[in-house]
Symmetry: C2
DNA sequence: GTGAAAGCGCTAACAC
DNA sequence: GTGTTAGCGCTTTCAC
């Protein structure tokens, strides 16, 4: 920068003004400076700028994984918003590894980021205690388990979403159902389902916990469910990837969907609209959550305050497609 | 830091030594410093450290998208390797937007990152000219179109991979096939397919370009293919997501897979092993590419040199599952 | 083993 | 409009 200043016959400060378009600079001076910048191939050092300004123009995002449509949609949406505002994204995936999550949290805490968004409570329920004293804004999104009231959060009412799914199945006449549910992560979804049916109708022996959060996991769990009760007429899956596997398992067993067995998913991410039959699912506004949470953080950065500490619950809705129908007689 | 030093009755330098475990510090001094750190809740400012050391412990990754299993696997693998070495990941997705890609490139160029990995050439073939003069290591991976010889790259022989798929189908007796191919992105894959069959066997009117790189896109393209030539016995899809849609479209048309029509995919990402029938696919070692490219960069950072400029081609293989079989008579 | 001084490259605040 | 001065929080070098 000093070199540029020398070459243009000005001071560093003027170069800075030109680069940042901040103060008014006389056109001919600006031209000289720009010429010098071009000649020398000068590019400002953002680290130095960050040290001087105290802002890194970077936001951290912690997600459980990126290899699931739900979270990859969130990542993309967050990055969209950040990009629009000139911010960069530091991505951390926790991968069901609490230690890793803690390590990442510590790493980001040291002023590498201007704000932090934590999406999904899978691996980070505990270390959250560390957070409230951070010196940058933090927000949570897609938070399912006990919502800490020390931090702002944008999420949905997962219990209600589960209830919606249950109500839909119940109103179609289903009485004998199974649930393929990741536990304890998705226990609220299950609780909602049970509220719709009455707890006894979805007793523990009709709840199947997949070994992996993948279609394969859902497939195996659904096979177990059908083996345990061949008479069941509907299966609830606690998220879309599981539902994909459930759908296959039901079809594989020779049953028709939804003629013999109805299948309902959860999240309504992009891939499920194309299954055959197209999957009915509770739609979670993941992109909207990501947008709002990110906006919350950017506003907080702007105003130099902690974000308003509120719990914002977005609405969920049921997207009825072709995988659910009336219970067979 | 000065506060900590005062409280412990030492200088900033000693605090620095303690924090970094660098020089030898007398145990009692260290204890006093650590106590002061704990009391004051001191955390080192990484930005200041970066300015002093010239290293940000951050690597940039540019990918077309994160909402596809192929790239999300790469992102996860890169982050794994970085995490192991104490590095952070700055993620940029280009989203089929050349301008956005250019902007991000420019943003990262200004010493925010210690190295840059560009995976996938979808949106960044052009601005690559800007790169060679960057002052940090850069590497490419999963590069399909003309490989620039100014930068190191870890990729596969896409033409050969396409050839493998073609050979497989040909050896099963298929003669009348269609290809669902993203163009121009995947033209090498198509070229390989054609080399196996002879160009005339996969003429342009048997090539269908999906409107979107999703299962839905593959579904529509396969429907068009089947409508155009109801007699075809095999369909090649230029990547897995398309193959998922192709599979559905074939089944939907009342044909059996692989009895009537064989389907072969490309990439062999996790989801395809669970389709029914399980998808045969050319396996691309995406995680291995990501690992090697990342390792290349970390080594270059370590040694303070540009990475060795080589084109490394990993091997591909065919994973034969249940979606391909002998051509019907 | 610890301290003192200098500097990383930039911006902020004010004087001219 | 532009120059001057100070300082962001750390590491580096070298003297002690």
């Amino acid at each position: 920068m000093q070199d540029v200043a020398n070459r243009a016959g000005v001071t560093k400060q003027t170069v800075s003004n030109v680069v940042n378009g901040r103060a008014a600079v006389r056109p001919d001076t600006e031209a000289r400076v720009r010429a010098a910048i071009a000649d020398l191939g000068y590019e400002p050092n953002l680290v130095a700028r960050s040290l001087a300004t105290g802002s890194t123009m970077t936001v951290g995002l912690i997600v459980p994984t990126v290899a699931s449509p739900f979270y990859s949609e969130i990542v993309e949406e967050v990055e969209n918003v950040l990009d629009q505002h000139g911010y960069h994204l530091v991505l951390c995936t926790t991968r069901a590894d609490g230690d890793r999550a803690k390590r990442q949290l510590a790493g980001l805490s040291s002023r590498l980021v201007d704000a932090l968004l934590i999406a999904g409570d899978r691996d980070l329920t505990d270390p959250l205690a560390l957070l409230p004293d951070a010196r940058f804004p933090i927000a949570l999104c897609a938070w399912e388990t006990q919502i800490p009231d020390s931090l702002p959060v944008v999420t949905i009412d997962y219990e209600h979403a589960g209830f919606l799914a249950g109500e839909h199945l119940r109103s179609l006449g289903h009485r004998r159902i199974a649930a393929v549910v990741e536990l304890p992560t998705h226990e609220l979804r299950l609780a909602g389902l049970r509220r719709a049916f009455g707890h006894d109708k979805v007793s523990d022996d009709h709840v199947f916990v997949p070994t992996k959060p993948t279609p394969a996991g859902g497939f195996a769990a659904a096979q177990a469910a059908l083996a345990a009760d061949p008479e069941l007429t509907a299966i609830f899956a606690s998220h879309d990837l599981l539902a994909l596997g459930v759908l296959e398992a039901v079809k594989e067993s020779g049953r028709s969907v939804p003629g013999d067995v109805s299948v309902i998913g959860f999240d309504d991410t992009a891939p499920v609209a194309l299954t055959h039959p197209a999957l009915t699912a509770v739609a979670i506004p993941s992109r909207e959550m990501a947008r709002q949470a990110t906006a919350l953080l950017l506003r907080a950065i702007d105003e130099g305050t902690q974000p308003v500490n509120s719990a914002q619950l977005l609405r969920t809705s049921l997207v009825i497609r072709d995988s659910t129908g009336p219970a067979p007689r």
